[in-house]
């Protein structure tokens, strides 16, 4: 199959433009080929252009145009949002978000830990080279 991800009811997608950029939403209804109705944690229900979303491989099975309460229940049952957050894509997004929030002292700690890790690796490598 050429395409694996579709604009469909229940498709989990990511907003990639605007104030709510980076937020995960579920497609609830399709208005036409350019617009969908989405809702998600931190995003009240709204109409959105498909040019502003990126589709993820995850789908939650919900009836068409479901109300918010049932949507939350279904999301919790099927854990689709957690599934996405555990995926490498989700983890990478969370990682980048966290890195952006680092303060100066935290950046220093990260560099400090990286140096320590590099020292340990080099020491281990040294031993291996010595053995050869």
């Amino acid at each position: 199959m050429v395409f694996q991800r579709f604009v469909q009811i229940g498709r989990l997608s990511l907003i990639n433009f605007g104030k709510q950029q980076g937020k995960v939403v579920v497609i609830l209804d399709i208005v036409d080929k350019n617009r969908v109705i989405v809702e998600g944690p931190g995003v009240p229900r709204r109409v959105l252009s498909v040019k502003r979303i990126t589709l993820t491989p995850h789908v939650v099975s919900i009836p068409r145009g479901v109300r918010s309460g049932l949507l939350l229940k279904k999301l919790e049952e099927q854990k689709t949002v957690e599934l996405f957050q555990q995926s490498s894509w989700g983890k990478k997004l969370a990682h980048m978000e966290r890195r952006k929030e680092l303060t100066d002292f935290e950046r220093f700690k990260v560099a400090h830990l990286k140096r320590q890790r590099a020292m340990l690796i080099n020491k281990a490598m040294g031993k291996l080279r010595a053995k050869k």
Binding site: V2, R5, F6, N34, V47, S49, T54
Partner: protein, 172 residues
Amino acid sequence: MLHQFVICGRKVPTGTEATQIYKMRIFAYNEVQAKSRFWYFLKKLRKVKRTAAEILDVKEIKDKKRTSARNYGLWIRFQSRSGVLNMYREYRDVTMTGAVAQMYGEMAGQHSARFDTIQIVDVKEIAAKECKREKVTAYHDSKLAFPLLRGSKVVRNNKYRGTFSAKRPNLF
């Protein structure tokens, strides 16, 4: 942006007899245009002219922030180059003004129709069953799924633009 107005007008009373009040729903881009369209239609429908009449009230009907897709049927009378045509068109949109705006856009695209050559006879929200146009009924299937063909450029924040990219763009 298109707006929906409800305009009331009447003939200026000369004697003591009661005057008839006319009310119309007009789609226009601003209030001035709405009033002018009101007189344009009223003159055609009744023996009332702007010079001997007055506008009683202009009220804009604000669309509530709707978040569910609806189907709209539009009956219009279109003055094309070769004659007058009555048309029935259908659109899927979230608000009525949105559907009417889609109509004006589509008429301009397909028939190079100007705003003033189109007279809206009626606009109604119609149930999914009554929809006739395939363009609209295609979206009624709840199992509908279509891929995103990235011919439509993905909108990204200007901050992430660059001249070069290390990896191929994500096209779906």
